[in-house]
């Protein structure tokens, strides 16, 4: 395992990812200035999720790790999402 060749990510990949992240940040600032009512929050959160996906995949190397790492991360996020949804079963219907 430790002898196994590690994947070395080239610097330019990181630069591209950073540029994408910055562009997404400006997009999210821009769309919140437009009056989209309820969709503003949704839009901002979707963009934040895309950014998180980029950070997880490239900066945190999930793309280059073994699959079970991705499964764990996905599992944890799913559990958290389920907890929020179930909590809202109370507040939404109260």
């Amino acid at each position: 395992m430790s002898n196994e060749k590690h994947h070395i990510v080239p610097y330019r990949t990181y630069i591209f990812v950073l540029l994408a992240l910055i562009v997404l940040t400006f997009i999210s600032i821009a769309i919140t200035h437009i009056e989209l009512a309820d969709y503003t929050v949704a839009g901002a959160l979707i963009l934040a999720s895309v950014k998180t996906f980029l950070v997880l995949t490239f900066f945190m190397h999930l793309k280059f790790d073994k699959p079970y790492m991705r499964i764990m991360v996905g599992f944890v996020l799913a559990v958290f999402l389920a907890v929020i949804i179930i909590t809202f079963l109370d507040y939404y219907y109260r």
Binding site: M1, V9, L47
Partner: protein, 206 residues
């Protein structure tokens, strides 16, 4: 699938440390997760007050801090590639940039918080309790707790990276043994990810 690569040289198992770090990151995610649950419930209960209160925050400072963290995330990720490429000097430069950016972030945060304090906005302040609605009190309560806890994580992450720099200098972290660097990087990215959500939730939804 895994048993083929299990080995019993317990001296150094970078994969084990990496899983350990990820598991720790999960706990951190759920720590902030609890706060995000609270935020979403109170936002759902007080949409207008949150809207109003968010106008008090400066989007520009928030955006600048976002970009600072994104860039620092990139430099720390690049540091891993640099050490893999056996370029120690570049590794140290990249880690140094990360630390400097972290300090700049904290200085910004400091000015942002002191501005709030000058306006009489802090937990338990008279201005907050007498002049603002309950939703706004909650918004600022959460604002201080969440950005405060995040700043604490910035400080911890920064300490980690400074440790790594010392270890690199002492050659305890080197191109054959860089798990510590990689894991500190992972931690730093976590801090970044949390900010990616804090920024729109507090600064953008005006």
């Amino acid at each position: 699938m895994e048993q083929t690569m299990i080995h019993h040289d317990s001296h150094y198992d970078p994969e084990a440390s990496k899983i350990g770090m990820w598991l720790f990151i999960f706990t951190e995610l759920l720590l902030f997760g609890g706060l995000f649950i609270i935020y979403s419930v109170y936002r759902f209960m007080n949409p207008d007050a949150f809207h109003l209160a968010a106008k008090e925050l400066d989007t520009t400072i928030g955006a600048i801090n976002t970009i600072i963290l994104l860039v620092s995330s990139m430099t720390v990720a690049m540091a891993t590639s640099a050490i893999q490429n056996k370029n120690i000097k570049l590794t140290q430069i990249l880690l140094g940039i990360t630390v400097v950016l972290a300090i700049v972030f904290l200085v910004n945060k400091y000015f942002e918080w002191s501005a709030k304090f000058d306006h009489g906005i802090f937990p338990g302040s008279e201005h907050l309790i007498n002049d603002m609605s309950k939703g706004e009190i909650l918004f600022f309560g959460l604002y201080f707790v969440m950005t405060g806890l995040h700043a604490l994580h910035i400080i911890i992450g920064m300490a980690f990276i400074i440790f790594v720099m010392v270890f690199v200098a002492k050659k305890k972290v080197h191109p054959e043994r860089y798990a510590l660097l990689e894991n500190s990087g992972l931690y730093w990215h976590l801090v970044d990810v949390i900010w990616i959500f804090l920024f729109p939730l507090f600064y953008l939804i005006t």
